[in-house]
């Protein structure tokens, strides 16, 4: 196909350029909450606006109104100076807006091409679907923007980073001239994040972007302008270059934020968790851990760094009795944990903050107070003779933990699943820490959380360390690992690559080990 017809084709499929987009005095109420409070934002041609704020500040709600998913109660939206009314996402697509949601909206058992076809109205010819045309368009778009995707791959075969690219390609194929990205990097590894930022930077020659984030490094790297929301209202507007990351952080939380560091003397406790030659299968029935050896002492934080998917989840699950052990041993204070029930592990004093906080760490429809006794319902503190629930004590326990752990909720009888990510994590943390565990396994404990919540969780982990509790901290945030750990182990393909003392660890050294290179 020659260039002219390509260009013609594109001009047909795409809406006209968006040179300015403005949301004026947007107000949106939900029962009991003012989700958007008289918000005004403006984005010009080729600009990148970072929409920053803590969890629950109303960023996603604002963008959902822009996309027509919700109707604002008051205020108006202007594109190129003309007022528009979007009754649904389709109207927004037609106007050239495209949104990539935090949770990817892809069908796992369909190919990339088929997924794009779902929204690609032009290829639906009566009852016939022209997949070839779509495939051509995907290749064209992905080459144009340098977004490498294989149009014939099934979604379930792709890594999270690749799925992200598919979402972008899908949005661009549908003719987006203006991108809205909701926390685009929250599930990506550090390397994937850097790649994505570079890609997006390239795109700004043709597109304008609004992106939601609370990772300030990205905000600094990518955006021209920054708007900070707190409790549904704009508290700050400015040019990104004029402010430092810590200034933006302070404006976001309303106070200065400094993440704690582990500056305490080394602990020389006994080895309490001893893992030898551990082999565990993944869900696909292939070895996820391959003869892994690891020792953790009482009173130390051992950071386990690595790109996710190298056996971290399987390690945590095997220790906690949630995944069968194929061979090897897991010794905890002299007890053998291999192939034991979760209740056995819990009784011996193991605390566990799981990776999937929304479906594993809490029972979503259960109230906060019920979730806080998930592991202790038959404990004599909360039951009479192991059988009758002591409702009053459960209530009192919840009130106390709500205060101590600053769980933000109207009351402790509401469903835990309705809380924001940060508050759910506080519920889990409160339960695990208040049980006074002998050891704590924390898996991605701050993933997707805002700075205030991260600070809180880091402080709690350090507090536990001072109580001589051993902690296995599994994370892919290198800053988190380097700030908190006494020793840092790097996991790669189900084995420990190397263990460094925190004094010897640098980002570069860890990065090389995480990539599987061993000196």
């Amino acid at each position: 196909m020659n260039r002219d017809s390509l260009a013609k084709k594109r001009s047909e499929s795409e809406s006209k350029k968006i040179t300015s987009l403005k949301m004026e005095h947007i107000t949106k109420r939900f029962p009991g909450v003012l989700a958007s409070d008289d918000i005004t934002i403006e984005v010009g041609e080729g600009e990148v606006l970072a929409l920053v704020g803590e969890n629950g500040a109303g960023k996603t709600t604002l963008m959902n109104q822009l996309m027509g998913l919700y109707q604002p109660d008051e205020g108006r939206i202007l594109i190129n100076g003309e007022e528009v009314h979007f009754k649904g996402p389709n109207d927004a697509f037609k106007a050239g807006l495209g949104m990539v949601h935090q949770q990817y909206m892809l069908v796992p058992n369909m190919t990339v091409t088929e997924n794009v076809a779902l929204g690609y109205k032009k290829a639906w010819k009566g009852i016939k679907l022209d997949l070839k045309e779509i495939r051509k368009r995907i290749v064209e778009v992905s080459e144009h923007y340098g977004l490498l995707v294989n149009p014939d791959a099934y979604i379930w075969q792709l890594s999270v980073g690749e799925q992200q690219r598919v979402e972008l390609v899908k949005t661009l194929c549908l003719g987006a001239k203006f991108l809205i990205l909701d926390e685009p990097t929250s599930a990506l590894t550090p390397q994937e994040t850097d790649e994505l930022i570079a890609l997006l930077k390239n795109m700004t020659s043709e597109l304008s972007i609004i992106f939601i984030s609370h990772k300030l490094a990205e905000v600094k790297a990518l955006s021209n302008k920054v708007t900070i929301l707190r409790h549904g209202a704009v508290v700050f507007n400015g040019n990104t270059d004029d402010y430092s990351s810590s200034e933006i952080a302070a404006k976001m939380t309303g106070h200065e934020v400094e993440l704690p560091e582990n500056k305490e003397p080394d602990m020389h406790g006994d080895v309490v968790l001893n893992i030898e030659n551990l082999t565990v299968m993944s869900d696909m029935k292939v070895p996820a851990l391959n003869g892994l050896n690891l020792q953790v002492k009482a009173g130390e934080i051992l950071g386990l760094a690595g790109v996710s998917g190298n056996g971290q989840r399987e390690l945590a699950e095997a220790i906690n009795g949630l995944r069968p052990v194929h061979s090897g041993k897991i010794e905890f204070y002299g007890d053998e944990f291999s192939n034991k029930r979760p209740s056995y592990v819990i009784k011996r004093g193991m605390g566990y903050i799981p990776e999937e906080r929304n479906i594993e760490g809490i029972v979503p429809p259960f109230s906060i107070k019920e979730n806080l006794v998930l592991k202790d319902s038959t404990n004599k503190k909360f039951s009479r003779g192991k059988s009758i629930v002591k409702a009053k004590d459960i209530q009192k326990n919840a009130e106390r933990l709500k205060e101590e752990f600053d769980i933000r909720c109207p009351n402790t009888s509401i469903a835990a699943g309705s809380l924001s990510g940060g508050n759910i994590q506080k519920v889990i943390l409160a339960r695990e820490i208040d049980r006074e565990p002998k050891f704590l396994i924390a898996v991605y404990p701050t993933r997707g959380l805002d700075l205030g919540a991260v600070q809180f969780i880091h402080n709690e982990l350090l507090k536990k360390r001072r109580d001589n509790v051993g902690i296995l901290l599994i994370s892919e945030e290198l800053d988190e690992i380097m700030n908190l750990s006494d020793r840092i182990a790097v996991i790669y393909k189900g084995q420990i690559q190397d263990i460094l003392d925190h004094k010897d660890a640098t980002r570069a050294k860890l990065g090389i080990l995480m990539a599987g290179v061993k000196e």
Partner: protein
């Protein structure tokens, strides 16, 4: 209008609207089949409430519905859907009749409890099988409970035609009249039996079990979030199996009260669709024991009224089923609308522009003024 009073008015109007819609559609159906619409409505909905005799008939139908639904509620809350009530009830009937026939001559205070216990165990066994299959082998309970319904139905039929058959019955598939030592006594001169009291006590017990005991906590945790429950040290497979076994036991008990209280001999069709209707009653009652009681009464009313309309007014019985189906659909839809708080808030805001109190209007005006000053 305050938030709370609006909520009540809102829910009432949705309910009234739902009833009107159900009546309108049903009226069309009745008119199409050529029935007198007003008479039919009177006969189905109101006449059953006009005398003690009629109310007794309604209650008689509500008793097994309520007991089965309570069992369904326990299973459902624990994460396993029991649509095997029909088979479990049949097993209850078979076991009850077996003990009744085999141990004649025992005094009532031994014979009746033994027969009831047998019915409970029979139902529980029929619940345990799909439970253990799901727990150990991940067999879908939707499949296994329905298959077990067929097996139980054939076993039932077999018993009635062989070992249980009344030699003096002239070949009719039924047992002989059971001895009075397995009868549930009736209340006053009505046909209502003490099964009614069982049902009410069981409702309270189920509520206590599910919300006041650690056992109930664990079963609900297994049902509301199996992964989180497992993480929390709860043996999900065990509690799911236990829940559907209890659920089966309830259906078995429903079979016992039908034989001991109503028929007093085993005949065909005792289960009468109660096993399936129990699932609807449980859902309709909000999967809560205290919602199930009125739901069971309502369904008992429909079942009785509809039967009478068919026999007395000549309305085709299947049209009557259609009306019952429509009513259930409309009411369930109305329930969903009522529980949608977003919709409620939106309607309140839109209406609010029309029906604000003077004070509220002033407040809003004031807020606007202050906002403008900023």
């Amino acid at each position: 209008m305050t938030e709370n009073s609006f909520k009540i008015v809102y829910k009432l109007s949705v309910a009234v609207l739902a009833v009107l819609i159900a009546i309108a559609i049903s009226a069309i159906v009745l008119a199409v089949v050529g029935a007198n619409v007003l008479d039919a409505f009177y006969m189905i909905v109101f006449q059953p409430l006009t005398s003690i005799g009629h109310i007794s008939e309604v209650l008689l139908r509500a008793i097994p519905l309520c007991i089965v639904a309570l069992g369904v509620c326990i299973a459902y809350r624990s994460g396993i859907i029991n649509i095997g009530g029909e088979g479990q009830m049949a097993m209850g009937v078979i076991a009850f009749t077996g003990v009744a026939l085999a141990m004649e001559g025992l005094p009532i205070f031994i014979h009746l409890p033994l027969a009831i216990l047998a019915a409970i165990l029979g139902g529980a066994l029929w619940g345990f099988i799909p439970g253990i299959l799901k727990a150990k082998l991940k067999v879908s309970e939707l499949l296994s409970t329905v298959m077990l319904n067929y097996i139980a139905a054939q076993l039932y039929s077999l018993c009635l035609r062989t070992i249980y058959m009344d030699p003096a019955g002239g070949g009719t598939p039924m047992s002989k009249r059971l001895s009075s030592s397995v009868f549930l006594s009736r209340i006053g001169r009505t046909p209502i039996h003490v099964g009614l009291i069982f049902a009410l006590i069981l409702a309270v017990l189920v509520w206590l079990l599910m919300w006041k005991t650690t056992l109930g906590y664990k079963m609900r945790a297994a049902g509301s979030g199996a992964r989180a429950a497992r993480y929390g040290g709860i043996n999900v497979a065990f509690y799911v199996t236990l829940a559907i076994s209890i659920s089966g036991a309830f259906a078995g008990l429903a079979g016992a009260v039908e034989i001991g209280g109503v028929h007093r001999r085993m005949i065909e069709g005792v289960t009468n669709g109660y096993g399936f209707a129990g699932v609807v009653v449980a859902l309709f009652g909000g999967l809560h024991p205290f919602g199930i009681i009125p739901a069971a009464f309502f369904f008992g009313l429909m079942k009785y009224g509809v039967m009478r309309a068919a026999s007395q007014m000549g309305i085709p019985a299947n049209m009557v089923d259609v009306i019952q189906g429509i009513t259930i659909l409309v009411i369930v839809t109305a329930q969903m609308i009522m529980s949608n708080t977003y919709l409620q808030a939106r309607i309140r805001r839109n209406l609010g522009k029309l029906i604000l109190t003077k004070k509220e209007r002033e407040e809003i005006a004031q807020n606007r003024a202050e906002g403008g000053a900023k």
